[in-house]
Symmetry: C2
Subunit: 506 residues, 2 copies
């Protein structure tokens, strides 16, 4: 038992440190979104002093932020790609306060931008103009964790890592893990249907989230909570709030099913000669590691090189065109190790795996995970990074990387691919010294046209947010987009919830 | 490999035979629903000869059924609890034909009742009055099964067992298994968000179904298909069709994620002295069997007695107040057996498990599964059976059974409980010689009031259908029901899709 909990903690801490370490660095503040992307403000009311006084009465003046320095952290996103111009951030402390804020905003036609940990990558979590930011970070109570059923009930502002720690104390794990875990909120994860590293094992949040409480545009509190895995009483409305990025309601509370914590982890890092070998290794892992496979990540040599260069890491094996990080987690260390060793031996015999290292040691696993987890942030360190997370047919998963390398030529510093192979989810990253319209136009919309041609998804997990609204139609049928608009109109007739996001602007 | 496929087939066949065997038996035809439950017909048009001619032109006269004997099988449900009075059954052969039918019905204000395998238990799959039955059974093509990604694409009318067989041939399993698998359609399963025996391992259909194609009330074909595990492009509308029981659209096609087929199965049947011992055993199973636990079923002595009596089975162990059936499935038989044996030994040492048998032999596992799978049908053999499937807090899971025993007294033949313990899902069954208003009133609404008091769900997996519409409010908040009505009105403004179902009638 000691091994288990110390191990989980070790892994969690690594992941946490990565994000925190990165966020502390000063980066260039981008120009205003309205200028860079030429958007027109919709006819919402502008916040007045009288509105601010009313908010102070409702939630207390301490929680109504108008200080320009603090405002900036809420107006700019993690990637420094977008910048809003909000004049006020509200920090409600309860569902009731959140409901009162929304009721007031609805009556006054004031637009709002709900914000969790502000770790989103598509500009969904910051305002576009002067929308009021509603930060959920004070709504951070874990209400209950039931060891027997595995169900955790938490406010939406609980930081993912904190929920994970509490779950661990009950012998459980949160079925979601991602690099930003030290900052992101579970409510934000659910609002954006976050994916991350454990989807291959525990599936998507649509399967794990059992209930949500959501505050609608007009302040109505919609109670769709459930303490049960199964509840077939009428329409499954909660799914409307999972992945709609705060445009249909603001999730205030949720129930999530947490699986039993594994007792043993093992991690392997292997080098492969070709993408075909990567695919064969994935297929073998699914078959031979079956129920204990908990991560199946790939990255190319350029992706790994970025992490090594910017964070002074050392690769545990020689240079290869492709690398994979495989993780198993199970209830018996000996059994898992036997399966893992046998899988690796078979892979080496078949020539798919050329070199590799496997470990069950917490410290060493942590080192290996760093190689994968630091890639996304390392690429931002290049200067500016265009990040695409697309779903593609596995057999054509990697084709787009060399295509984009050729297309960007010397405009790009690095064009590389990594991602969640087990979910057909490629993170295509193109880094350069700074954002220029020239490289932007070289990349978009081409990258989405290419994805669309392969019937892929233009957003596997990051969402549409602000940055991808005009590309929604590359994946979704016209009548599906029409239906989305009708649902939006039904639930938020004034359009005050996170405007300019998800749905096409025109 | 031989072991794996022969084993899967053996188990599937058992389950299939049960349903087929049962359905062949003649049962008393119930009175019309409109008389027994006193419902008022809504002002839809009635089908005319001219409508029938039009349907014959659209899909061919062979597929427009007006023969009274065949109509009866579509008008009466599996439980013989409800009976509609439809004059015509349509069997479209494609999405295009289905779309044309709906377009016509929408224009003419003709109500329809979509029907899959007609194995539902809440009267959702048969008409209440003279709604046109739309049978999906000709739309039964499996379009593709991708061994590498595990994604199967199938028409909605594919019989679950057939999809399972095809998945097995590709080294995969369908993440859903239930007693009616030889008759039920995958489209019906998705429309009703069916649960069944594998939820504990593979989760709910909201997690497994990756995409649906749905024909709306006005004939619009809404393409929400996806060939990917991850697709975060806009609202996740497909979930509106999962579990809405054909009242928002008719699912015509779907994509479902199939996990790798396990290579080894083991089944244990154990006797326990108390319900507390059942709970402790469940908790230990979750912890000790972890990732290989694939079923965790419980039943009380009266439930088992029904199966033994009506089907001449023999219990493999002595009489105990409670029984559990536990199944593991994994990728290494030796590992699984070692874990399972150790778990059983620990349970016996702790005194939770008094007696038991474990096997990995396909024939013996089949015999054990029969003990559980024949319970639901055996209870119908008593004459008439009131079936409730409710979600309850695990610690109070069984309390309702003795309460109902006392309440029904000699009016009931048997009051017993069994179900999916791992999902907090109790099947409370009350059998009697025939339906009488007296026992009906003794049971309802009391059973739902009791469930509501414990904040349980009045329908864990069967759905609301026709029989439970008036009990929806026992689980769902008023404003959630209002929102459901608004969604219904948005997607089916004339209310022609499966009327009198899911939403409260008044």
């Amino acid at each position: 038992m000691l091994l288990k909990s110390s191990l989980i903690r070790a892994v969690s801490q690594t992941k946490g440190v990565i994000t925190r370490g990165y966020k502390a660095k000063a980066k260039k503040i981008p120009e205003f979104t309205q200028d860079r992307y030429q958007v027109s403000r919709k006819s919402f009311a502008a916040v007045t002093d009288s509105d601010v006084s009313q908010f102070e009465k409702t939630i207390g003046s301490k929680y109504v932020v108008t200080d320009s320095e603090e405002l900036l952290t809420h107006n700019v996103d993690f990637l420094k790609a977008v910048r809003g111009n909000s004049k006020v951030v509200l920090k409600p402390g309860s569902t009731e306060e959140l409901s009162q804020i929304m009721k007031y905003c609805y009556e006054k036609n004031l637009a709002v931008c709900p914000q969790g940990g502000n770790t989103g990558l598509v500009g969904g979590s910051v305002p576009v103009f002067d929308e009021i930011v509603i930060s959920l970070n004070r709504m951070n109570k874990i209400h209950s964790i039931d060891e027997m059923t595995g169900i955790a009930v938490a406010d939406s502002g609980v930081i993912l890592e904190n929920l994970e720690k509490s779950a661990n104390e009950h012998g459980l794990v949160v079925p979601l893990d991602l690099g930003a875990k030290a900052s992101c909120h579970i409510g934000g994860n659910v609002s954006t249907n976050a994916g991350g590293l454990r989807v291959i094992r525990y599936g998507s949040l649509h399967g794990s989230v059992l209930g949500v409480e959501s505050v609608l545009a007009n302040g109505t509190v919609l109670d769709l909570m459930s303490n049960f895995k199964k509840d077939n009483t009428g329409y499954h409305l909660k799914h409307m709030f999972i992945g709609s990025e705060g445009t249909l309601g603001i999730i205030s509370k949720l129930a999530i099913l947490c699986p039993p914590a594994p007792r043993a982890f093992h991690v392997a890092f292997v080098g492969l000669p070709s993408f075909d070998a990567v695919l064969q290794t994935y297929l073998s892992a699914k078959r031979q590691l079956g129920e204990i496979l908990s991560s199946c990540e790939m990255m190319d040599k350029d992706a790994l090189a970025a992490a090594i260069q910017h964070f002074g890491l050392k690769a545990p094996i020689d240079d290869y065109p492709f690398y994979m990080l495989l993780e198993t987690s199970g209830s018996n260390a000996d059994h898992d190790q036997e399966k893992f060793n046998s899988f690796l031996e078979n892979g080496m015999e078949a020539g798919h795996i050329v070199d590799g290292t496997i470990t069950g040691d917490p410290g060493k696993m942590q080192e290996i995970w760093k190689l994968r987890e630091l890639v996304p942030v390392a690429l931002i360190e290049d200067g500016y990074c265009f990040k695409y997370d697309i779903s593609l047919p596995l057999r054509q998963f990697y084709e787009i990387v060399p295509v984009m390398q050729e297309r960007c030529g010397s405009l790009a510093h690095r064009v590389c691919g990594y991602g969640h192979l087990g979910d057909s989810n490629l993170h295509l990253n193109i880094s350069c010294s700074e954002f220029t319209p020239e490289i932007y136009k070289r990349i978009e919309p081409y990258v989405f046209e290419y994805t669309s041609k392969l019937k892929g998804s233009v957003s596997a997990e990051h969402g549409i947010g602000f940055l991808k609204t005009k590309y929604l139609s590359y994946t979704k049928a016209d009548n599906a987009i029409d239906m989305m608009k009708e649902v939006k109109n039904l639930m938020d007739p004034k359009g005050i919830l996170n405007p300019y996001k998800v749905l096409p602007l025109n």
